[in-house]
Symmetry: C2
Subunit: 110 residues, 2 copies
DNA sequence: GCACTCGTACGATGGTTGTCGTACAAGCGA
DNA sequence: TCGCTTGTACGACAACCATCGTACGAGTGC
């Protein structure tokens, strides 16, 4: 049977919008998620539950959805778990230097 | 008598918050304002009215206020006019590379 | 003085959003 | 099989926000 790895909708690289990305990153909880994701090894794909954020599960789902729809992260399903990765390459291609600048600032100040 | 140039409240450099800056820049109208401001000569200080944006005066005032309170721009009064400048140095000091990355992306894609 | 311009302040309004609780679907493991 | 875990979906709710119109205060120029 076919492996179900990508039934979750994601915007294509060319469709990424600066406003949406900035808006997604302007939320402290989401920025925290992205910073943690960025701190992971390249081949590591943490699940949603592995993020120890100060909100409930449903709020967490909401934030991941915002990040995914803005094109900041990519999600794929494995069993009941949902694996998350930063879309570094796509972001870098569309908005060179942006993610690095945000992450550097986010890490330095709280 | 003292010249009244700075009775308008601005956050200090150390008080600038990444979330607030990203949020301010995530609005297309405001991003447009900032991009125009960035395109000005260094010694040029355009007034609020010189921005040909697609919103009414009061909405314009609102957006300038958001940008000012986030620390993205500085405003000073001269007569009835209000002169605007980008806080390039402060932004660069707190969030190195961020403004440039945003502006570069904003200019490239509409 | 008087009209005009610049920009703010205030209130209203409709849309967006961050948060949560509950219910549910799907896989994992004993 | 029977829980347990993962995460989503949906509804609710309060807070926020972008927008506008109107009214106003303060300079500017005739």
């Amino acid at each position: 049977m076919p492996q179900v790895t990508e039934e979750i909708p994601h915007p294509a690289r060319e469709q990424l919008e600066l406003s949406a990305v900035l808006h997604a990153l302007s939320e402290p909880v989401r920025l925290d998620m992205v910073a943690r994701l960025a701190a992971c090894e390249l081949d590591d794909e943490p699940t949603c539950g592995s993020f120890d954020v100060a909100v409930t599960k449903s709020t967490c789902t909401h934030h991941f959805k915002v990040l995914r729809e803005a094109g900041v992260i990519r999600q794929r399903q494995r069993g009941t778990a949902r694996l998350n990765t930063l879309r570094r390459d796509d972001l870098e291609a569309r908005f060179p230097g942006l993610l690095d600048a945000v992450l550097r600032s986010a890490v330095v100040h709280g």
